[in-house]
């Protein structure tokens, strides 16, 4: 027999290590930048301008043009290749934009506008609020649905809570990844990345539900076994499915990541990290939490197991 839920101390420790970067980043960013997350202009307002030049450009040199023109709060990255610059600055009107374009061309030669985005701060704030509402609403609805779907087992509410804790775990792990990438490559949480995170939520729960579903079935079948034993059994029984599904999802996600072009890279990479976390959390977070709750001990098995199984309806 395998002992998975019994070793939860280790699993929770691993989770903590994975989550910690996001928490540290939020604390640091909140203290130094005033925003706990690296929000893109989708939430803060501003302009993003992606320009392809006919020659390689230095981000610092491009930035200098903007600083000289009076836009001190400008960041520049090169994307895809050395000759494509992504410039983030304050929203400007059409005439001002044209002036900046001429300044750039004067210095770096011919250019081609690839994308341009400009958003007022008020709209950004609204979107940001709505995003939080969306996240919380999705989590709550999922919790309620699971509690309802598992009404035939004792303490169905716990299943909902465990699934939501697992999904919060996955969101935090995704944010850890995003935080690291923010420091390394300037990635930001934009509308598309938020979409990736919401997908991770859906997927994470999807995975958790498959194990819980087996648990729901096994609880009725093996009425004399402790929840820990049934939980281990359910994890093992669903393992082949988990591996099979994970491979197919990987095949697709990796294909998009490698071949899908630069626009989708951040979206897909965040999603991939979230998916991996989702696979981990359904086995090593959600299920152990259920058992820990039942045994009334977060880290160790203790003697006074509450044998709720026998009360199974």
């Amino acid at each position: 027999m395998y002992f998975i839920v019994e070793k939860r101390k280790i699993w929770f420790l691993i989770s903590l290590i994975l989550i910690l970067p996001s928490l540290l980043f939020m604390a640091w960013s909140g203290a130094t930048r005033g925003e706990i997350l690296p929000l893109s202009i989708d939430y803060t307002g501003g302009s993003v301008w992606e320009i392809g030049f006919s020659q390689a450009v230095q981000p610092a040199a491009v930035r200098q043009v903007f600083v000289d023109a009076g836009y001190g709060d400008t960041t520049v990255f090169t994307v895809n290749n050395d000759s494509t610059a992504q410039i983030k600055f304050k929203p400007v009107d059409a005439a001002e934009k044209e002036r900046l374009r001429l300044l750039l061309e004067e210095k770096f030669g011919e250019s081609q506008e690839l994308t341009y985005r400009s958003l007022g701060p008020a709209v950004g704030r609204e979107v940001s609020q709505a995003a939080w509402v969306a996240l919380i609403a999705a989590s709550l609805l999922i919790l309620l649905y699971i509690a309802w779907a598992f009404r035939s087992v004792p303490h169905p509410f716990r299943y909902g809570v465990a699934a939501v804790v697992a999904l919060a775990h996955d969101v935090l792990v995704s944010l850890s990844f995003l935080s690291l990438m923010n420091l390394v490559a300037g990635w930001e949480l934009d509308a598309l990345t938020l979409t990736a995170i919401l997908t991770v939520i859906g997927y994470s729960v999807n995975d958790t539900v498959v194990i819980f579903d087996r648990l729901r079935e096994n609880i009725h079948r093996y009425r004399n076994e402790s929840l820990a034993v049934v939980a281990n059994r359910s994890i093992i029984e669903t393992a082949t499915r988990s591996i099979g599904t994970q491979i197919t999802v990987f095949l697709i996600v990796v294909a998009i990541l490698v071949l899908g072009g630069a626009t989708l890279q951040q979206f897909v990479a965040t999603m991939l990290v979230g998916f991996i976390s989702g696979m981990y959390s359904s086995i090593f977070t959600a299920t152990p939490i259920l058992v820990a709750w039942d045994e009334r001990s977060l880290f160790d098995r203790n003697g006074q197991q509450v044998s709720s199984l026998k009360a199974a309806a």
Binding site: A94, Y145, G244, I252, A255, G260, G261
Partner: protein, 460 residues
């Protein structure tokens, strides 16, 4: 078994229909959507702005402090923005009201966003034009001394406004501009006929009187942004106030009055959000996501065969059926495909495969426990179903939340993604139920009841 055959027939018919819709062959009129006022567009996949390149603009009513938005003002503004967008010659542009005080315009193929936005926001100019004896009609585009290049502008923008007809090179004389008007309202006369009553400003009335008294019995064209709104005949000299009569409907009269009153936009608009993507980048995205999709799909199909053998092959057939259904629905609805939408679709493929895997794993278990193949198919499916249903439903919940979120803020990226993923999840449940189950029943139900055969087929 009979049920299985009926289902199989249904699948074949559905697949054939879907294939017919997906293939780029001529389709009958009733299938072809006609959004552009009667101009039929061929049945094709609709690409979002990020894939074909273009500009998306969000405009907001920019009212001075303390002034309230009049009811209907945004709807009127939308109509006017729409007309201007059409005059830019943008095909398949979408203009929508959003919330209480916003308008979004999606302009595919527009690669000079700044100019487009200026055109949309400009307070267009109303003119009274001397038709010089020509019979001008509503919807004609004419050159006037005030706007001598209206026809040229229209032609160079390769216009698609179906209501507009350019009137050649004649230059008409602008007699007065809209600032002579104090107000204009739509009202009904004693016979319940709709008419537009207007008043003139102090200085305007003199000009108006001079012109109308000299041209009684002649036409006078009312022109906005180069487009003839109306060309009434002058019945009498008009000094302070006048009436335009005609065969107006209520809406027509209202719209004319509003356009006369405000020149153009009933409310000033300011730009809140501009997003533009170059066509080259869009094409690159289409190409790379197509390659990614094909390779990803191919890898999944191959994996299923390697892992599950014959049932894997059947799952592949079911999967191709699933993809066809999706594409057909995209074309019929039509669903606007964005990059995120494609990602959502590919992800839903993953979920469709998951449903098959769940069923096969259960099937293997049932066979291992010694059930006959026929019973194992039924038991395996009914055991796998709750997991498929519950897990897909939670995904649908987050799709619904995303859709609402995206809809509220004109985040068409998010909306498109939620739509394709949600649609995919629904169809994947249908496919699992209809196709996979039917295939398994036919394959394992009709063969001999010996489990060795099943063993060989399923490979457990």
């Amino acid at each position: 078994m009979r049920n299985a055959k009926i289902s199989l027939a249904l699948i074949v018919v559905l697949a054939a229909l879907a294939l017919y819709i997906v293939l780029p062959v001529p389709h009958p009129q009733w299938l072809v959507r006609s959004e552009n006022a009667g101009q039929p567009t061929p049945l094709e996949l609709k690409l979002g702005l990020d894939l074909q390149g273009g500009t998306q603009v969000m405009l907001e009513a920019d009212l001075p402090e303390g002034r309230d938005l009049q009811t209907g003002a945004m709807e009127t503004a939308k109509l006017i923005v729409e007309r201007r967008v059409n005059s830019l010659g943008v095909s398949e542009a979408v203009v929508q009201n959003q919330g209480e005080n916003r308008i979004t315009a999606e302009l595919p193929g527009v690669n000079n966003p700044d100019q487009a936005i200026e055109t949309i926001r400009s307070t267009g100019q109303l003119e009274f034009v001397d038709p010089q004896g020509q019979a001008l009609q509503q919807g004609m585009i004419i050159n006037t001394t005030n706007k001598p290049s209206a026809v040229q502008d229209y032609l160079t923008s390769a216009g698609s406004d179906p209501l507009a007809t350019p009137y050649g090179e004649t230059l008409f004389e602008t007699v007065m501009t809209g600032d002579v008007l104090r107000t204009a309202i739509a009202r009904q006369d004693q016979f319940n006929m709709w008419e537009i009553g207007f008043e003139l400003t102090g200085s305007g009335s003199e000009q108006f009187f001079n012109y109308t008294s000299a041209n009684i019995g002649q036409q006078m064209a009312i022109v906005l942004d180069g487009v003839v709104l109306s060309a009434p005949t002058i019945q009498a000299a008009i000094r302070d106030q006048g009436v335009i009569t005609g065969q107006f409907g209520e809406q027509e009269a209202n719209s004319l009055a509003i356009q006369m009153r405000y020149g153009a936009l009933p409310v000033p608009l300011k730009v809140m959000d501009v997003r533009s993507i170059s066509a080259t980048l869009g094409q690159d995205s289409v190409r790379s996501s197509l390659i990614a999709g094909l390779i990803g799909m191919g890898a999944v199909l191959l994996f299923m065969i390697l892992m599950y053998r014959l049932p894997g092959l059947l799952a592949d057939v079911a999967l191709i059926f699933y993809v066809l259904l999706n594409l057909a629905i995209y074309k019929l609805v039509p669903v606007t495909l964005t990059l995120a939408g494609i990602a959502g679709f590919l992800l839903s493929v993953g979920m469709a495969v998951d449903a098959n895997i769940l069923i096969f794993e259960r099937l293997r278990e049932e066979l291992r426990s010694g059930r006959s193949p026929r019973l194992a198919v039924e038991a395996g499916f009914s055991r796998a179903w709750p997991a498929i249903f519950d897990s897909n439903l939670t995904t649908l919940i987050s799709c619904a939340v995303l859709y609402v979120f995206g809809n509220q803020f004109g985040a068409s990226i998010v909306k498109g993604y939620a739509l394709t993923l949600g649609l995919g999840v629904l169809l994947s449940m249908l496919t699992a139920y209809l196709a996979t189950l039917t295939f398994m029943r036919i394959l394992l139900g009709s063969r001999s009841q010996r489990s060795e055969a099943a063993r060989a087929i399923v490979g457990y």
